[in-house]
């Protein structure tokens, strides 16, 4: 049962085609991973899906309705949310203040649960710019999860994290997705982490889909091995 779908998504910057005819379908309770080498179009892809960048061609549908031209604010109100690769938090505010601010707007009943799931209790009264980078990434994720969104697009949540933090972060993502029946898209650089975490994986290369399917299928795909995974897989 598809809740969120991108069809034929194409993004051009002048003559350069960053993304060409990419399809994707997300289902509730399923973590869908997107991997690909640098320049594969991963960030452009998530920007096009989330409304940050309007696609040159293609459509984005949510619960059957075309939302390609809807504002990001409208999408958030309907339950579409995203996080950012470059940590995007409210630096001068305390962790608690900013989460409460977002919770007020998005009608979150149980903010405490999100805070404790992500282990943010202890630093709730600290100013966000003064906490550790890894914790800021968790705050970024918490902001995206507030208000029980139905779809969450996560742009490299592990960027800049050390291995242990990275493992914990992906575990959180999987737990939240399963517990809350969220359709999650996980764009990630950490290939090993994606194979461990995701139920479905799409591989992008040079702006196109190289392969898509269950982790084992993708791992065995000849194109993927040749172009990307190489001998490491």
């Amino acid at each position: 049962m598809t809740i969120f779908e991108g069809r034929g998504l194409t993004v051009r910057y002048g003559a350069h085609v960053a993304l060409e005819g990419v399809d994707i379908a997300l289902e509730p309770g399923v973590v869908h991973g997107v991997i690909g080498p640098n320049g594969a179009g991963k960030s452009t892809f998530i920007d096009a899906l989330s409304g940050r960048k309007r696609p040159s061609a293609g459509t984005v549908t949510f619960e059957g309705a075309d939302i390609t031209r809807r504002s990001v604010r409208w999408r958030r109100g309907k339950g579409l949310s995203r996080s950012f690769q470059r940590t995007s938090v409210f630096g001068s505010m305390t962790v608690g203040d900013q989460l409460e601010m977002v919770a007020r707007r998005n009608d979150e009943q149980d903010l405490d649960e999100i805070v404790s799931t992500l282990g943010l209790d202890a630093i709730r009264h600290q100013v966000c710019s003064e906490i550790a980078y890894g914790t800021q990434r968790s705050v970024d994720l918490a902001i995206a999860l507030i208000g029980r969104p139905k779809v969450v697009l996560l742009d490299e949540p592990c960027a800049g994290l050390v291995h242990d933090e990275s493992v914990r972060m992906l575990q959180h993502v999987r737990d939240v997705c399963k517990d809350r029946d969220v359709a999650a898209l996980l764009v990630e650089h950490d290939v090993e982490g994606v194979f461990r975490t995701c139920d479905v994986i799409t591989v992008l290369d040079l702006g196109k889909v190289l392969a898509s399917g269950a982790p084992d299928e993708v791992r065995a795909d000849e194109n993927v091995i040749r172009a990307y995974l190489g001998s490491a897989a």
């Binding site: 990001v72 604010r73 958030r76 995007s88 938090v89 001068s92």
Partner: protein, 347 residues
């Protein structure tokens, strides 16, 4: 890991982070109590400052402070610097002048009208500029206020604005501004309560707004406009409201200025007035609400005492540079930092 690249947001170094958290309502009540006490105590100023010239300086500084706290409010809560607030101050002043002199309205009604005109201009300008930030915002506010100035000095505008000559206010002997006749409003001791009440009420209003949920929304927009939108907040509306509010406060200043001075000249519309006020606010500091007020009083004092040989701008330019280089956050910001350091040291 988080690299801090230089941005156009002034608040990084210039605004100290205000502490928030529990006890907000209690804090607001205490603040309102203090504001009321300050308002009442301030009414005694004419009995302390008996010299008329000095008292007129105090009144001038109080009226100009309204312009400065308007500019300061935007800088503090949205991190944007306006060079266009002279337009609201000036438009309100001209509104009063035109309503009294050309249309024969009573000064009290004219002041209300002037404030409406200034606020209306702020609304129109706001619709055009609040999407911009950083230098874009600075340039647009500067350009639009210069456009208003350029229009006001046109020969065709002479019947309304007096063009380059400015406009002398006149109204009937029996007409008054809240009970003060035309001779009385120019008496600083008698005009003082109007100016002082206006400043304390406006400052308190801005302070309460800054602490409210709306203030938190503004802080969110200042810190990360994009994430606010991705969190479901509209950012245009709150910015516009904040811009119009700060323009309205500047308009109150402009309307009172016109009544008190009895004369409106085009230079108050232009960039020099807004520039002076911005400098005063910067020197006083944006981090605290009183910063721009402190700065304005110092500026008016300096203007009256150090303007020998017409070198005022040489000194203000120098002071501005010294403050920005060596004490970002201005005078009040520096005191704030010292205070925090002392408290930390004691712990």
């Amino acid at each position: 890991m988080t690299t801090t690249a230089p941005t156009d947001d002034v608040t990084e170094t210039m605004v100290a982070v205000p502490p928030a958290g529990p006890g907000r309502w209690k804090g607001t009540l205490v603040g309102l109590g203090i504001a009321l006490a300050v308002l009442l105590a301030g009414l005694a100023v004419p009995y302390v400052v008996t010299d008329t010239y000095r008292m007129s300086l105090v009144v001038d500084a109080t009226i100009l402070s309204l312009l400065a706290i308007g500019i300061g409010f935007l800088a503090r809560h949205l991190g944007i610097i306006s060079l266009g607030h002279g337009a609201f101050f000036g438009a309100a002043a001209y509104g009063v002048g035109i309503a009294t002199t050309n249309w024969g309205w009573s000064p009290t009604t004219a002041v209300g009208f002037g404030i409406l005109v200034g606020t209306g201009i702020a609304l129109v300008m706001g619709l055009l500029v609040v999407r911009a930030s950083g230098f874009g915002f600075l340039m647009l506010t500067l350009a639009l206020s210069q456009a208003l100035y350029a229009l006001s000095v046109q020969t065709s505008a002479r019947p309304l604005t007096g063009a380059h000559d400015g406009k002398l206010l006149s109204y009937d002997r029996d007409q008054t501004f809240l009970g003060l006749g035309q001779a009385d409003v120019m008496n600083p001791g008698l005009f003082w309560p109007m100016a002082w009440v206006a400043l304390t009420v406006c400052a308190t209003l801005l302070w309460v707004v800054g602490r409210s949920r709306f203030g938190t929304t503004l802080e969110g927009i200042r810190e990360n406009e994009e994430r606010m939108r991705f969190s479901g907040y509209g950012t245009f509306g709150p910015r516009l409201v904040a811009f119009v509010l700060s323009g309205a406060v500047a308009s109150v200043g402009g309307a009172l200025f016109a009544i008190n001075a009895g004369y409106v000249s085009p230079d108050i519309l232009g960039f020099s007035k807004a520039g002076d006020s911005l400098i005063a606010a910067l020197i006083g500091g944006f981090g605290l609400l009183v910063g721009p007020i402190v700065g304005t009083f110092l500026f008016v004092y300096a203007q009256a005492n150090f303007n020998f040989g017409g070198n005022l701008h040489l000194f203000t330019g120098m002071t501005l540079i010294l403050v920005l280089v060596f004490m970002p956050g201005g005078i009040t910001g520096t005191f704030q930092k010292l205070y925090h350091r002392m408290r930390k040291g004691r712990r």
